[in-house]
Subunit: 231 residues, 4 copies
């Protein structure tokens, strides 16, 4: 079971790495600020970067700005590949991306020091199933299955506070760069409710289930109106 | 933190101002009645008015008519602008618009005296996270960051009543015009449930997250069927 | 307030009347059985009947078959009319249609004796906000505002039973035809959960809010890519 | 009432049978592994197989891998047939398909021994309405209404465990082949929350209600803009 857990962690961190951008990267979710990737841990091929541009890329994150750090949340849809049969299968699972940036002044945040944490579908389920007073903690290793495995450890803890509010704390320990960062954002009950509602909306899309709903369905009988129906 | 709160208030009130219409304004959400804007506080440019017409504008508000006032609720989607890269980013956040109009007789309401209160995503989250017996209150300054800052104060209070019903009360104090208005609408548990369900549906759209779901996704491999997939 | 309540009842019953069909009516939601409208109370013009055919009409009701009667549930979307400006406004509100038919044998139901009860958005809200042990009752007069007002009285009661199940009972008293019918269907907790989940899904569509989400949005700036964006 | 229950069971198992595939079957939901149908109980005509290919078939299951077995969940939409009038009616109800496969080593599962259990809409309602500490059990006979009725009995039990987790256990007793299999998968609270959220999303689609929402609606008045509206 441990290995399965690691497999999952590896998968979600792959996504985090893929989202680490480069200066001027079109994929930069923090479009309000110049962007330089401070840490480049990724060894994975970035399919996106190979392609050049995405005329329909959308930037609509849910942002919460607090005194010590900001939190930016947005969904990353799964990637599909086409089968020889013509069907589509999930190639890489979707995630809910959390991006933390430290404050460096009043209403100013150091986007160059932002850290990512990609929640898998099941980790999103943890947030959705939090009962009053409950909490959860997730551990990711972005270098899983590489020679650097275990060198960088990320953990996100979600703790319940009074009145339905929650305290999110991201810890990133990098033994290679000898750094240890902690970014914390308190969420009010209202802010957490937005996150839960938005995550609940996004979860089926992260799983790719919206694709089931939009597929063209075969009919029970072939009739002259087939073309109309398939339209 | 105070400034951030004010920033948020300013933003939501910008939307309220933009929604203040003029006689015969096509944007008038109260299409059943002649419309004259009683108070024109807005200093913002109304992008809509510049454009002339909206062939697909939709009028489908959720309306509750009560003895002292009516409440009309409808979502206002975020506005996107196109990046040079071709992507889309949120230019102005969406809101849940609440419109209160005082009663002037049995089933008659003075639409000229209607008042707007634009709920931000987090304020919608407050409504969604209300626990039995709980309540919340929001404060807006539509003139934030102008020379009239602090001259008009709006507040909306939501108080729990017996049996799951709620009492919504909007107060608008205008020091410039020396007016002080209060519009109150009680909502039954059923009416509030409709509002919560509709707001829960609308919240991801207010955030612009539905755009994530509809964007055209790049595929992992370029194949001859790319055109079909991108269609 | 009483008159407003009656107005609402009138509105929802208008929909019920419009849904009363004629033999061979294409709109017949009970497509499995021959259909003869037993009672024809409607004085309203049936826009649908004037039009002849609906190539895309959908029949996908949620059906529950019980010992004494069957219950068929399906949403009826609002009707929109186009404004001179090109916009769309709700012309008639959507409803959640409940159709009860009495059993006349094992697994046989007399579809000619079926009775309709059209739940308004707020009445759907009542079902959604039912707390354990709670119940609700709705009263409709399908002849409201006609010379037959008060001659036919429909009431639907929803009572909580043990283990999360509910008992739905429809009473139709027709003073003109001197008839008094009662149709009752018990719903298990699972069957009621399906109804609540489906109603929660349908409610925003009954309000017409899905139209907000699909409207073409104006952009903040006119650019050469406008055509692409509007596509 | 018993017969109605059996009718329902028959219906859902029809779907299970239809999903039993053949080697190389394009419909194979376990696209990661070679596929051989171990048990072929189906006597129903497989409409899909007659058609040859489905260029838009989607494979995006929700998978949970545990020590003794894996669970794969995905929705199967209803099938519609076109009426002479041009309308669409549900021909076969949709289901939520559960697929269990036994573990044969660490992270290895014997997909040839997988077993299906197709949850009807009401059975999905049972999962959605589970209260803390509650459980449910479903019984299916895939050979219902054939000469083999009663020879194969499937049952799925869902039991509440500590901390919001659940234990799913599928039993398949085949008196023809003299086999008796049991496949069990424990789900954490988070994993179960994903399943509930995904099922809640899928339920209206399983009922076919999304088709109501997408149908082209007639308008109240025929105007020159009809073509635009119908577009």
């Amino acid at each position: 079971m441990m290995k399965l857990k690691q497999l999952l962690q590896s998968r979600t961190h792959l996504s985090e790495n893929l989202l680490h951008g480069k200066p001027g990267d079109i994929r930069n979710p923090s479009w309000l600020h110049a962007f330089t990737s401070r840490v480049s841990l990724s060894t994975a091929t970035d399919h996106f970067a190979d392609k050049g541009n995405y005329p329909d890329r959308v930037y609509a994150p849910y942002c919460v700005y607090k005194g010590k750090a900001s939190l930016t949340v947005y969904p990353v849809l799964p990637k599909f590949s086409r089968l020889d049969s013509g069907g589509l299968k999930v190639d890489r699972h979707g995630v809910m991306m959390l991006q933390f940036s430290p404050a460096v002044g009043e209403r100013k945040y150091d986007w160059e020091k932002k850290q990512f944490f990609a929640l898998s579908a099941v980790e999103v389920g943890s947030l959705l199933s939090l009962s009053p007073g409950g909490g959860c903690e997730f551990f990711h290793d972005p270098s899983m299955k590489t020679s650097n495995a275990g060198q960088v450890r990320k953990s996100l803890s979600v703790k319940s506070m009074d009145g339905g509010s929650y305290f999110l704390s991201l810890s990133v320990v990098n033994n290679i760069q000898k750094t240890n960062e902690r970014l914390a954002v308190p969420l009010t009950a209202a802010e957490f409710a937005v996150m839960q509602t938005a995550c609940s909306f996004a979860l089926p899309h992260i799983l790719g289930w919206d694709r089931y709903m939009n597929q063209k369905l075969p009919r029970t009988e072939a009739t002259p109106s087939t073309l109309e129906w398939d339209r």
